[in-house]
Every structure is written in structure tokens, then in C-alpha cells.
């Protein structure tokens, strides 16, 4: 009876935006007479931080200080359409909506500044809240003065709106082939898990996880780390602890109490090491791809592979609870070999469990 250490890893990919697209996000932005910026977007912040990321994108697209930007995502009267916060679409699609709207606002600022400075808009740039002549920055006007002139002299509300939308990708139902990309970008990640397996109790402890994420561009690295760490612990829960139906497919012993459900807690926290890679997306705001959804996908297989590395058994029904690990250790199952076939898990297969060998599933046309 002993504790065994093992290491496993996994490399994964995940799409940005709703599968098959067709999921618009819209935004509109207006300037107050002192140049301060109001952003209206329907993107819901479920904790991932879209209010922060969107205001960062707007500040840099316009060239104004971050604290000039306020965001209203509170209601459907003042904000335009956002399909929703899911499918890792907030930063890419919601972010592109505010970026494109901000670019239109920027054009209006430059137009009015051009009249005030008598310089062609193409020779102007905006930085730190000031419109400057390229090459001769002493010729300048504050964005606040531009907004004031627009409001009181030119009779214009400086505003801009836009929609980020990729057209719906039809699928050939016979072959699954698509004519256009059914996503906005693809993010990649790898996770290495070090575990300790107690062969007496079957208990698995995750000691450390190293995680590498290509997010295209980290608009806010602090928030990216938050996704990596939160996702890691959720992935640990998936790999080892959580189950709505402890005796699935049976519905018996389903717990209705918070304390009856094994969500990961402080005590389960392993050492985490995060690496962020920036391989920019051609189409994302500032090159961003996404991270939120994929963040709990790499840990479960990394943990399963680490358990195999530690004690030589495969647990392919999730989660790898102590009873499953002990059962696997007891069975010490070897795959069945049939010619060049190496067959694992036959007892779990539809062929075994269905009363007619799973004919309804396996018997479809080629």
C-alpha cells in the first residue's frame, strides 16, 4: 500500500463564438460634451469581466484615458442586441462590436478636429485624449474641446454604432462539411497535471498543474489569469469530484443540498503555474481570441493520463472517484486484442449494454 506519483498532459482547442455563427453583438457609443465616453452594449458580465475588457478596448481604440470611459450594459432599452454571454464570444464578438463602434466615433472626432485645426483628418491622430497633428504635435486640440465644439457649434452628437456578425455557416447534413468557417477563431491550450494516487483508498490528489493558453492577445492579463485559475479548479472538479448523478445512469442518490455536492473547495487547491501565449487572431479585437469556455477542458484528460502514469489503470468514466480508481486497480483490466485491434472498455460499450447491440446507433448508413 503506497502513494504513487504520476504526470499527465493534454492539448486542446476551442472555438470562439457560437458554432455556425449568426450571433450578432451590437454596440453604440456617444461622447458627452466634455469628451467623456458612454458605451452601450448588451453584453452580460457573469463575472468574466466583459465590462472591463470592453472599456479597455474602447479607450485604446479612441485614444482616450481609460477612466474617461463608462459602460452601460444594464438594460435592453438603452443597449442594442447582444446574443449573449456564452460560447466564449464576449471578448471577440462583443469586443469587436465596441471596437468597430469606437472606430466610427474616432472618425467623427477627427473630422471635427480637422475643421478646428484646419488639418486633413488623415494627418491627425488621437493619444491620451488629445487630437494631434502627426509629426507636429504642438498643433493639437483636446477631445474634450472637440466634443464641446460638436455639441455647441456644429450641432452634432458624436456617436457611432456597429455590429459584429459573421454569417451563418450552413452544414451539409450528409458530410458535416461547411462552406465558411463556423467559428470566429480557435484558441489552444495545454495542461500538465501532477497527481498522487493512494492505492489503498483510491484517492487522487492533484499536486500541481502547469497550463499554457494561446489567447491571441491578453486584453487584460489579470482577467485572463482569473479564467485560467477558475477554469483549472472547475476542471479539477470535473476530473475528480463532481457528479450530479453519482450512480449514473441511475438517478438514485442525487443530492439537493449544497453540502452533498462535491464542488472543489479551498482544500483542493493545487499549485498552479500559468503561461499565456499570444498568437494573434487576424480578426479579433487587438488580436484577441478567447479563453473563458475552454478553461476547464484540458484538466480532466490530463488528470486521467496522470492517474494512468501513476498506477497503470485507465479511468474513462468521469470523475475518477476513489471507488472507480480502486475498482480499476482491482480489475487491472488489459485491453482485448483481436488482430490489429486493441479494444478497451468493452463492458461500457453500447454494443454490450444495448439489448440489440446498439443497432439503432451503429446501423446508420455509411
Amino acid at each position: 500500500m503506497a502513494k504513487h506519483r504520476g504526470r499527465g498532459f493534454a492539448t486542446i482547442e476551442y472555438p470562439t463564438g457560437m458554432n455556425q455563427n449568426g450571433d450578432p453583438s451590437q454596440a453604440w457609443i456617444k461622447l458627452k460634451p466634455d469628451g467623456r465616453v458612454d458605451v452601450f452594449s448588451g453584453t452580460v458580465d457573469i463575472g468574466q469581466g466583459s465590462k472591463t475588457v470592453h472599456t479597455q478596448i474602447v479607450a485604446d481604440t479612441l485614444g482616450v484615458p481609460y477612466d474617461w470611459v463608462t459602460m452601460d450594459n444594464t438594460n435592453t432599452d438603452s443597449s442594442a442586441v447582444c446574443t449573449g454571454t456564452f460560447a466564449s464570444r464576449g471578448t471577440f464578438i462583443g469586443g469587436n462590436a465596441v471596437r468597430l463602434a469606437a472606430e466610427r466615433v474616432r472618425e467623427r472626432i477627427l473630422d471635427i478636429a480637422s475643421k478646428e485645426l484646419e488639418i486633413d483628418p488623415s494627418d491627425l491622430e488621437i493619444a491620451d485624449g488629445e487630437v494631434l497633428a502627426k509629426g507636429s504635435p504642438q498643433k493639437k486640440i483636446g477631445v474634450a474641446d472637440v466634443a464641446g465644439a460638436a455639441t455647441y457649434n456644429y450641432g452634432e452628437l458624436i456617436s457611432g454604432s456597429s455590429t459584429a456578425l459573421k454569417p451563418f455557416a450552413d452544414v451539409d447534413d450528409a458530410t458535416g462539411q461547411v462552406e465558411i468557417e463556423p467559428h470566429s477563431a480557435i484558441s489552444y491550450a495545454a495542461c500538465v497535471a501532477d497527481v498522487e494516487v493512494d492505492d489503498e483508498t483510491g484517492e487522487v490528489t492533484v499536486l500541481k498543474m502547469v497550463q499554457v493558453y494561446d489567447v491571441g492577445r491578453a486584453i487584460n492579463p489579470l482577467l485572463v489569469e482569473g479564467q485560467i485559475e477558475g477554469g483549472a479548479i472547475m476542471g479539477l472538479g470535473l476530473g475528480l469530484l463532481e457528479n450530479s448523478y453519482p450512480y449514473y445512469p441511475s438517478v438514485d442518490h442525487r443530492g439537493g443540498e449544497f453540502g452533498a455536492y462535491l464542488g472543489p473547495a479551498f482544500a483542493d487547491l493545487p499549485e498552479l503555474d500559468n503561461v499565456i501565449i499570444e498568437n494573434p487572431s487576424a480578426d479579433g479585437p487587438f488580436g484577441a481570441k478567447a479563453i473563458g469556455e475552454m478553461a476547464n477542458n484540458a484538466q480532466p484528460p490530463a488528470i486521467a493520463n496522470a492517474i494512468h502514469d501513476a498506477v497503470g489503470v485507465w479511468v474513462t468514466e468521469m470523475p475518477a472517484t476513489p471507488d472507480r480508481v480502486l475498482a480499476a486497480l482491482k480489475a487491472k483490466a488489459e485491453p482485448r486484442r483481436d488482430g490489429k485491434r486493441v479494444i478497451f472498455d468493452e463492458q461500457l460499450s453500447v454494443r454490450t449494454v444495448s439489448s440489440n447491440g446498439g443497432e439503432g446507433y451503429w446501423g446508420v448508413e455509411p
Binding site: I46, G47, Q48, G49, Y66, D67, D214, R217, A218, P221, L222, L223, E225, G226, E229, G230, G231, A232, I233, M234, E257, F258, G259, G263, A265, F266, A267, L269, L272, V275, I276, I277, E278, N279, P280, S281, A282, G287
Partner: protein
């Protein structure tokens, strides 16, 4: 019954077995303690009762008659954050923010009790019954340890910095 909540004394009219959580939220309109599970399982309803952290969902109000109650509203103001609040803010220890009230109350009690720097194991122990689904706990542990050491800045100075360059060169990229 009477309670002093965040320094303000009030007469309580709810029935004696009403959970303290409901008295705070529904009678006194003090809404930072959240009804996360109302089973004592998640910790987000935690308040300080005479300085000690308690689950307000499991505490009948009669059991704390006359006590002094501190909720997150009483810990600091938006313009004057406590060290624990400032550390949670700076270190991104709150994502959706729903567990945050209980976390900060428990952390505040831990640091007050210890009276000096707390170690990682002490944080895991003191906050062990508090649940967070968003953060993975890492930045909460960091925030509590930093707060206990006074390692927090002035939150009015937003830490805007120059954009970082990609940390790893990637071949085969279109950009």
C-alpha cells in the same frame, strides 16, 4: 429584540426564529449577505457577530439578540476601502462578486484575530467552508495574505501600464 448593525441600533420585529440573513436583507435592507444556499454550505451569508464570523442563514435572530453585527457594508466605503477590500480589488479576488461578501468577512475576522501576517495554510483553514465557483481560489488566498501584510496600494491610482509584448514568439502566425 435589538441588533446593532454596522453601528446603527435597530428594534427587530421579525419573529424570533427568523434567520439573521432574512432580518438583515428583508427587514433592515442590508443586502451584502447573500442567500447563496441557505443551508450553511456556501458561506456567502457570513457576517460578524460580536467580531466572530457566523453563517447568518443558520442563525436565528433571537440567538443574537443584543449583539453587534458587522456586514460588508460596515467594513469600508467605496472611497475608503479596508485593506482586505483593497487587496480583493487589486488582486482580482472577486469575479462575479457573489461569494465576495462572505469571503471578505471571514478574511477580516482571521486577520483581526491573528493581528499580523497570516500564512497560506491559515487562509485555507479559516476560509475552508467558503465556496467560490469563479476564481479557483488562487487570487483570494493571495489577497488575504497581502492584506494581512499591508501590501495594498491606493486603489484610486489605476495601475495602467504599457501594453506587454507577446511572451512567446509564434511561428506560422498570420499577424
Amino acid at each position: 429584540m435589538r441588533l446593532t448593525v454596522n453601528g446603527i441600533e435597530s428594534e427587530i420585529s421579525s419573529p424570533p426564529l427568523t434567520p439573521l440573513l432574512h432580518v438583515l436583507r428583508d427587514e433592515l435592507d442590508v443586502t451584502s449577505p447573500k442567500a447563496g444556499c441557505q443551508q450553511g454550505g456556501c458561506g456567502t451569508c457570513t457576517v460578524l457577530v460580536d467580531g466572530e464570523p457566523r453563517r447568518s442563514c443558520l442563525t436565528p435572530v433571537a440567538a443574537v439578540d443584543g449583539a453587534s453585527i458587522t456586514t460588508l457594508e460596515g467594513v469600508g466605503e467605496p472611497e475608503r476601502l479596508s485593506p482586505v477590500q483593497a487587496a480583493f480589488y487589486e488582486k482580482y479576488a472577486a469575479q462575479c462578486g457573489f461569494c465576495t461578501p462572505g469571503m471578505i468577512m471571514a478574511a477580516t475576522a482571521l486577520i483581526d484575530r491573528k493581528g499580523g501576517p497570516v500564512e497560506r495554510d491559515e487562509v485555507l483553514e479559516a476560509l475552508g467552508g467558503h465556496y467560490c465557483r469563479c476564481t479557483g481560489y488562487v487570487k483570494i488566498v493571495d489577497a488575504v495574505m497581502a492584506a494581512s501584510r499591508g501590501e495594498v496600494g491606493d486603489v484610486q491610482d489605476l495601475p495602467v501600464s504599457e501594453a506587454g509584448e507577446p511572451s512567446v514568439e509564434v511561428h506560422g502566425s498570420p499577424a
